[in-house]
């Protein structure tokens, strides 16, 4: 099978989040980046498992600058056969989806995988847009994917339960927890990663339709206030005026 896996880079989960440019841009300074866990743990690993069982090729794709190569090479270390980086600063879900679609159109992929969302912007948008651009069906939040010959059996998480679908043909799938189990790259994989192809291509021209004007952090929680157990009046006042819960 010919499999494409979209991977993106996200700040490491303990990174301190801040903004620049009048709060319209994420401040990357001093932030450590990792591969988005939904992409790495579930989408990529399931693609590799399929390749291992039925043969074929796994291509990892990322939209981003050269500094993303570190993250991309991790995908190669885990087991992708080759990688493509579309040399553009990701702007929005739409441009990202368009760039990838323009590449994927030529590639004749059986399945295009991505994570159900990135853990930073939580957009969950690239998958559906990509499917639209490629004119392919889209299975979101897939927690299981089995192949029965050329037929794919996909289990999706839906509110309070599961839905199972079958499909024969190419499709786009976004991965949720359960689709696979995280794989730690082994030493041989890491040493091989450098020798696998990482092709850099320029993006097609796409105009963005929206711009981000502002980010806000949640307000910092204030500390716990300790009151004298007998001071009911003060408690009521605080709950009313400060906590505004009564």
């Amino acid at each position: 099978m010919n499999l494409l896996v979209c991977i993106s880079k996200t700040p490491e989960t303990t990174a301190k989040i801040g903004f620049t440019d009048g709060d319209s841009k994420f401040n990357e300074e001093g932030v450590q980046f990792i591969m988005n866990p939904y992409d790495e743990w579930y989408a990529l690993v399931r693609a590799i498992e399929l390749k291992e069982s039925v043969g074929g090729k796994v291509v990892a794709i990322n939209v981003g600058p050269a500094s993303n190569d570190v993250v991309i090479r991790k995908a190669l270390a885990i087991g992708a056969d080759e990688a493509v980086r579309i040399n553009a600063q990701p702007q929005s879900a739409m441009t990202t989806a368009k760039y990838i679609a323009d590449y994927a159109k030529e590639g004749n992929f059986d399945i295009v995988f991505l994570g159900k969302e990135t853990i930073d912007y939580n957009g969950s948008e690239v998958g559906s847009m990509l499917a639209e651009y490629l004119d392919l069906p889209f299975f979101s939040y897939a927690s299981k994917l089995e192949m029965d010959g050329s037929k794919a059996i996909i289990t999706r998480d839906v509110e309070g339960g599961q839905e199972t679908a079958e499909y024969t043909g190419s499709f786009v799938l976004s991965a949720a927890k359960g689709l696979a189990e995280q794989r730690i790259p082994n030493m041989r994989g890491i040493m091989m990663a450098k020798r696998k192809p990482l092709n850099v291509i320029e993006p097609t021209i796409t105009e963005d339709l929206s711009v981000v004007v502002k980010y806000e952090l949640p307000e910092a929680k204030s500390g716990v206030k300790m009151l004298d157990a007998d001071d009911m009046d003060e408690l009521v006042r605080l709950l009313h005026e400060e906590a505004k819960v009564i």
Binding site: I184, M187, R188, K194
Partner: protein, 600 residues
């Protein structure tokens, strides 16, 4: 990555006589992409597989150590330091240091890992026949077999060569019969392979490879230990165990070579492993200090706590600089020896031997900084630190073993001076010329040189003085030894003082050259001021440590006619302009408090 390749690398002990520059420094900021990937892979493994099983490991749940070692084998982590022909990855020494450091966060399990990959495998690699290597190493590398190393006995610990276990050749010459008792054997509970040392004909100390199914080999119960409870430690009893002659390791009577040589690398690795442990403790300490409020403010706002956080970080930064400096020295030496045609095993063995003194320094420093950092971590946690609910309590107990095994720190201190003296006697190291130069400098009253040191002139001048201080005292002691007035071997207190000075010099110089390198290359991750503050605080302390130890040594041996002059010179050489270390430490503390992690 390496900038020193066209320079002649410093030989063992030579740092005491020669100047090093920032071009000789090496630290985590120099890791390449592959090394960083391996670092994060080991971290991931530990987080997912080891830390999540902490409680079960502490109970020494059956099969767990084995399972984790096998998983490490699958990932290629058990053979990262072994030749490819046996299934290893043959990664360079620096990359293996990174792995050792990361494994240091895993408490007792790190002992299982270290015993298996270190004292378990290395004797076979270094001294095994081709057949032994191809029989044992591939299975040890995948983790299918686990290894242990049996040197210590109830009546021979530090004095390892006094072992009583006997090996007697059978009449037909086909096997040896082993009888004896081994004690404190790590991994004994699950090992398949036991490297055992025994006396052939009563006095030929020799190594043997035993496997667990040999009749007559039995195990004692698990020891009830203070810490590293996750590690299996048992006695091994040998009762008429028949060991085929093919299983003799190395040559008859050469067991001491095996026993001592594997220890150099072991000591270095132990230090690197401790570093991983205390880096994590700095993080845990800073996080707790920010979380915990008393008197309505986080305790991290108190000067007394900042002192601890600052000092923990400074000690970590300085020792990290020393540890990776030694790593890189060994790394370069291995490359040099391989290029000169040595086999993989020979190169590794010889390189570690070359830096025996430095390996002892790293063993001592790693284990002692760990004890300092973990003790203060408990203190920062207050009562919570005393609760077994909190991992800090376990870390406190786990830390203590490191000053005891791989040669106690006392033994390593004696050894260090011993190595230095031996090399001087054998003419491998010219101690006498610089000693005489100092003596004539003192007689002619030459004052401070007007060398233009450039950056960090004060620190460079101080290092020069510290080295002179050591050479002065060593020279004076050597004269007394030669005239028969001093039996230095019997004066362990003096040896200890000298080893403390040697260690302090190595550490101070390591942090100096690394800090300058970070400055030159703009490699700082937090404000550069933090690095500089750490270095300056350490120099300030070094001046006092060196002065005190040198004075104690001089007072212990110098006669009345010498003592005045020596003390004056010691004072003149152990100089560094004192600093406002309160402010410097606060600067360092502020950065860990902000980052909530060891951030240099």
């Amino acid at each position: 990555m390496s900038t020193v390749s066209d320079k002649v690398a410093l030989k063992g002990c030579e740092f005491l006589l020669k100047e090093s520059t920032w071009l000789d420094a090496y630290g985590p900021e120099d890791f390449n992409e592959e090394q960083l990937m391996i670092q994060s892979m080991v971290r991931e493994f530990n987080e997912q597989e080891v830390h999540t099983r902490r409680e079960k490991l502490e109970k020494l749940e059956e099969g767990l150590n084995e399972m984790l070692l096998e998983k490490m084998g699958e990932l290629g982590l058990l053979g990262s330091h072994m030749p490819e022909q046996y299934g290893g990855m043959d990664l360079d020494f620096n990359t293996n240091s990174i792995i050792a450091e990361e494994m240091g966060t895993t408490g007792g399990f790190s002992v299982s890992y270290n015993a298996h990959t270190g004292i378990g495998m290395l004797p076979i690699l270094y001294f095994g026949t081709e057949e032994q290597k191809s029989t044992y190493l591939p299975k040890l590398l995948t983790g299918e077999w686990k290894a242990s190393y049996c040197l210590t006995e109830p009546n021979s610990g530090s004095d390892a060569l006094a072992a009583k276990t006997k090996a007697i050749l059978s009449e037909d010459g086909s096997h040896y019969v082993l009888n004896g008792q081994k004690m404190w054997i790590s991994n004994a509970g699950f090992a398949n392979i036991f490297t055992v040392f025994a006396q052939v004909d009563g006095d030929k100390f020799t190594g043997f490879i035993l496997d667990k199914d040999m009749p007559g080999l039995t195990l004692g119960a698990e020891e009830k230990k203070l810490g590293i409870k996750a590690s299996s430690t048992r006695q091994v009893f040998l009762e008429n165990v028949k060991v085929p002659v093919e299983n003799v390791l190395g040559e008859i009577g050469n067991g001491h070579l095996i026993a001592f040589n594997v220890l150099n690398t072991g000591r270095y690795k132990l230090g690197a492993s401790c570093l991983g442990g205390y880096k994590k403790l700095v993080e845990v300490s800073a996080k707790y200090a920010n979380e915990r409020h008393q008197f309505k403010v986080p305790i991290s706002s108190f000067g007394a706590i900042q002192h601890k956080l600052g000092e923990q970080t400074i000690q970590t930064y300085v020792s990290e600089s020393a540890i990776y400096r030694v790593s890189n020295l060994i790394n370069e030496k291995i490359k040099e020896l391989k290029a000169a045609g040595k086999s993989n095993a020979e190169a590794k063995l010889e390189a570690a031997e070359e830096y025996a003194l430095e390996c002892s320094i790293i063993k001592i420093v790693g284990s002692e900084v760990l004890d300092y950092v973990v003790d203060e971590a408990v203190q920062i946690h207050g009562g919570m630190g005393y609760s077994e609910e909190n991992p800090v309590a376990q870390a406190f107990r786990d830390a203590r073993i490191n000053r005891i095994f791989e040669g106690t720190n006392e033994i390593n201190r004696m050894l260090m001076v011993n190595v230095l003296m031996k090399r001087a006697m054998k003419g491998q190291l010219d101690l006498m010329t610089p000693v005489m130069a100092i003596q004539s400098e003192l007689m002619n009253g030459t004052s401070a040189s007007d060398t233009d040191y450039g950056t960090y002139a004060d620190e460079k001048e101080a290092i020069k003085g510290f080295k002179k201080c050591l050479l002065l005292v060593v020279g004076a002691a050597a004269q007394d030894v030669m005239s028969g007035k001093l039996n230095l071997k019997e004066e362990q207190e003096i040896l200890t003082n000298l080893s403390n000075v040697i260690t302090q010099i190595f550490m101070a110089e390591s942090v100096l050259i690394r800090t300058e390198k970070i400055k030159e290359r703009g490699q700082h991750k937090v404000d550069f001021e933090v690095y500089e503050s750490a270095m300056k605080t350490y120099f300030h302390q070094s001046r006092f440590v060196i002065h005190q130890n040198a004075v104690e040594a001089v007072m212990a041996f110098a006669n009345d006619s010498m003592v005045g002059g020596l003390l004056k010179s010691v004072a003149a050489f152990s100089k560094y302009r004192v600093k406002d270390v309160k402010t410097l430490r606060r600067t360092v503390a502020a950065s860990v408090i902000k980052e909530e992690a060891y951030c240099l």
